[in-house]
Symmetry: C2
C-alpha cells in the first residue's frame, strides 16, 4: 500500500510571498526519498481555522502523515502547535524542563541585545514549551521545539510532525524526527520508488512531448512510469518515478531520449550544470574568472555558490560602466566605439581581459541589453553576447536574443554562460549543434 503525506506551510508572509518557501520543496524531496507519496503542499495564513482546515483536508484524503512548517515562533500569530494539539484532541501542558532548556538557548540572544527586557523574552517564548499530551518533543535547533503529535487515541488519522519555519532549524529537526519510533512506525509502510532525472539544454519542452509519443509508438510502455517534464530557466528536466520492477521499461525510455537528444542532454545523474562546471575545473586543475556587464555579477555569484569555490574561481570584474570595461577589464576603447558595448568583439575582449587581469585559465565575457530600456532595432532588448575563451585557444562564442523582462534576461544569461563553459570544458551535450 502506498503511503501518502501532505505538507502544511503556515505563515501569512509565505502565502503572500514576502518569504519564499523553501521548506515545502525540501520536505517533498525527503518524503519522496523515503518512498512516501507527497500529493499536496498547502500554504495557509496565520489563522487557527485555516490551519485546522488544512489538517482536515489531508486527514480526509487519507494521508498517513502531515508535516507542518512554521508558526512556532514567539509572536502571537505563531499558533501551529496549539492548532495541531486541538486537531489531535490532545490538551497541552507546560513542560518545565523544556522551558528551562529554551531559556538557556536564549542566553545568546539576550547577550546580543542587552537592552531588551528579559521577562519580555521569557514570556514570548514560554508558549514554545507547551506540549500536547502524548506528543514526542524534538529538541530545538533554534529556540522552538518540534513535535510529533499522534492522532486521537483509538483513531487512524495522520501523525502530524510539527517543525519550525527557518530552514536551518527545520532540516536537522526533520533528521531527528525520522529517528523517532513513532514516525519510523509510519514510514515502514512506504513503498520504495526509483527516481531518475534527465536534464537537457537548448530544446523546447514540446520536443519532449514528441519524444514521449515516439517512445510509446515504439512499444515502450511509458504509462508504467510516472514521467513529469518541466522547463526551468531554459533547461528541460525529465523526471521519472517508477517501481523497481519497471526498471527495464525506464531503461528503454531513457534510450529513446538519448538517441533523440544526444546533443542537448547534459545530465543523467542529478548533477546540475554548476556541479559539472565545478568538477571539470577541479579535475583539470584550472581556474575561471568572469567579466560581466548585463549580468552584474550573477555568474560570479553562481560560480562561488559552492563550498570550495576558492579552489577554481579567481574572481570577476563587473564592468557595468564602459569606463570600467576599459580601465579595469582592459577592453580597447576603440572596440566599443566601433562595434558598440554589446558586440561580439567586446564580449571577446571582456573574456580575454578576465583571463589576463585575473590570471585565469578560462574567461567568461558577457555583454547585453537587459532592458527594459536601451534596445534598438538592430540591438533589441534581450540581445546578449557571450564569449567563453580558454587560454589554450578553445572558445565558445554565441549571441542570443532572450525573451522576457530584465530578470529573465539576467537569469537566463547566467544559465547560458554556465552551459557554454560546460560545453567548452566537456566537449559534448548541453547545447544544440549549429
Amino acid at each position: 500500500m502506498s503511503l501518502r503525506a501532505g505538507i502544511v506551510v503556515t505563515g501569512t508572509e509565505v502565502l503572500t510571498g514576502r518569504v519564499v518557501d523553501r521548506n515545502g520543496p525540501w520536505l517533498s524531496d525527503r518524503l519522496t526519498e523515503l518512498g512516501v507519496e507527497h500529493a499536496y503542499t498547502l500554504i495557509v495564513g496565520d489563522r487557527p481555522q485555516d490551519v485546522h482546515d488544512a489538517l482536515r483536508f489531508f486527514a480526509e484524503r487519507g494521508c498517513d502523515l502531515v508535516v507542518t512548517s512554521g508558526g512556532l515562533g514567539p509572536t502571537e500569530d505563531d499558533l501551529t502547535a496549539q492548532v495541531v494539539a486541538d486537531f489531535q484532541q490532545r490538551p497541552v501542558a507546560l513542560d518545565v524542563p523544556l522551558e528551562e532548556r529554551i531559556w538557556k538557548i536564549l542566553e545568546g540572544v539576550r547577550s546580543r541585545w542587552p537592552d531588551i527586557d528579559e521577562e519580555a523574552i521569557r514570556a514570548a517564548n514560554r508558549k514554545q514549551a507547551l506540549v500536547p499530551a502524548g506528543a514526542t518533543v524534538l529538541e530545538p535547533v533554534g529556540t522552538a521545539p518540534g513535535l510529533l503529535v499522534p492522532p486521537p487515541d483509538g483513531t487512524d488519522g495522520p501523525l502530524v510532525v510539527v517543525l519550525p519555519g527557518p530552514p536551518r532549524e527545520l532540516k536537522p529537526m526533520w533528521g531527528a524526527a525520522v529517528e523517532e519510533p513513532v514516525l519510523k512506525a509510519v514510514l515502514e509502510r512506504a513503498t520504495s520508488y526509483e527516481l531518475r532525472m534527465l536534464r537537457l539544454f537548448g530544446i523546447p519542452e514540446s520536443e519532449i512531448a514528441e519524444t514521449l509519443r515516439v517512445a510509446r509508438d515504439g512499444g515502450v510502455d511509458i504509462d508504467a512510469l510516472e514521467i513529469t517534464t518541466c522547463l526551468r530557466g531554459g533547461e528541460v528536466e525529465v523526471v521519472t518515478r517508477y517501481e523497481p520492477t519497471q526498471a527495464s521499461i525506464y531503461g528503454a525510455f531513457e534510450d529513446v531520449v538519448r538517441a533523440r537528444h544526444a546533443d542537448t542532454l547534459f545530465s543523467d545523474d542529478g548533477t546540475l550544470v554548476d556541479d559539472q562546471v565545478a568538477d571539470a575545473l577541479l579535475g583539470a586543475g584550472e581556474t575561471i574568472a568572469t567579466a560581466e556587464s548585463c549580468t552584474g555579477g550573477l555568474v560570479a555569484a553562481r560560480l562561488t555558490n559552492r563550498p570550495g569555490a576558492s579552489r577554481y574561481v579567481r574572481g570577476a570584474i563587473v564592468a557595468y560602466d564602459n569606463a570600467v570595461k576599459t580601465a579595469v577589464a582592459g577592453v580597447d576603447p576603440a572596440l566599443i566605439d566601433e562595434h558598440g558595448a554589446v558586440s561580439e568583439q567586446v564580449a571577446r575582449a571582456l573574456a580575454a581581459g578576465a583571463i589576463a587581469r585575473l590570471d585565469a585559465d578560462v574567461g567568461v565575457g558577457i555583454t547585453g541589453i537587459a532592458g527594459p530600456d536601451g534596445g534598438t532595432a538592430e540591438k533589441p532588448v534581450g540581445l546578449v553576447w557571450f564569449a567563453v575563451l580558454h587560454r589554450d585557444g578553445r572558445e565558445m562564442v554565441r549571441s542570443l536574443v532572450i525573451p522576457g523582462g530584465r530578470d529573465d534576461v539576467r537569469d537566463r544569461s547566467t544559465t547560458v554562460a554556465l552551459h557554454l563553459v560546460r560545453r567548452l570544458l566537456l566537449g559534448t551535450g548541453g547545447l544544440p549543434e549549429r
Copy 2:
C-alpha cells in the same frame, strides 16, 4: 461580506521545488489589492484527481474565486483546463479560430528550431485550443490561452480563472482577466482594505511581539487590526491589514512602533532597502562600486537588479583570490599578511580600492568566511567584515558573525551591506545604534 479566494498552483516540478513558485505570491498580492481575502495556496502535482480535490477543497470552504496557475502546456501532464472543465461540468470543444491563432504564434518557435516536425508541434498544441462550454477565453501571451470558467449553471460555486504557469504569461493575462465582465461581477462584492508595511532591520522578531503587548497594554485596540510579523533575511516586516474605518487605531499602533524602534525602522511605505539605496544615489548624483570576497558578486548583482542601475552602479571587483585582491582591487599585500584576508583592514582596503579603481563615490568592501570550511577559533565561519566608505570621508564599518550555512552567510551579508550603504547615505534608521 468578505470575498474569499484560493490559488491552485499545479505542477509536480513546483510541488517538489525544482521550480520555485512565483505565481502564488504574485496572485496573492493582486487579490489582496482587490480586497479579496486570500486564504490558501494549494500546490498539487500533475494528477487529475489531485487538481480536482484542490478545486473541491476551495469550493467546500465557500471560496468565491479560484485562480489556477500552470498545467496548460503542450505535454501530456498538462491537464488543468480539462480538470476545471470537468469540475464545472462544462464539456470542452475545439475552438478552431483559436487553434489558428495559436498556430500563428508558433511560427516563431518553428523558425527557431527548423528541424522539428511541424505536425508534432501542431498535435501537442491542439489541446490548448479546447474550450469549456460557457467559458471566456483569455488570449495567449505565450502559446496557451487562459480561461474564465463559471460554476455549473444554477449553482453558486466559485468562478475558476485558469492561467498558464510562466510568470511572464500569467501576469499580463491576469491583467486581461480582471477586465472581463464575468470576473468583474465577482470582484464587485469585495470589501476594500488598507494594507501597510513597516520594515525594521537590526532587531529580533521577539521585540515586535513585545511591542504588540506594549501597544495593547497602552490601550491600542490592536485586535481590530490584522497584524502579521515575519523575519526575512534579517529584516523584520510588520504587515497590517485593516478596514478603512480602523485607520486611527492603525495610526496609534504605528506611533508605538515608531517610538520604540526609531533607530531600526527603515521603511514605512513599502520601499525595500534596495529602492532606498538606489534613490539616495540617484538623488545625490553619486555612484557606487563594490569589491567583494565572500559574497562573490551578490551585492553587485543586487545593486544592478533594478532598471536604470547603470546610472549609479560603476561596477564591481569580485576578489575571491587574494592575488586578485591585491592586483585588481589594490589591497596592499602587507595588510593581508599582517591581519589576514578577513579583517577590518582588508575590508577597508577593498572599499577604498573599489572607489579608486572603479572611480566611484561610494565603495563597499566585504570579506568573510562563508564556510563550511576555513573557520578558526579566532575567526569562525560566518565572520564577515564590512566597510562602506564615501569619498567625502563618511564611513560605516562593522563586523558580524552570521549564523547558518554558506547560503545564509552570503545572503545575509548582502542585505547587511545594503543596509550599511543606506545608513551611510541617509543617516538614520535601519541599524541599531551602538
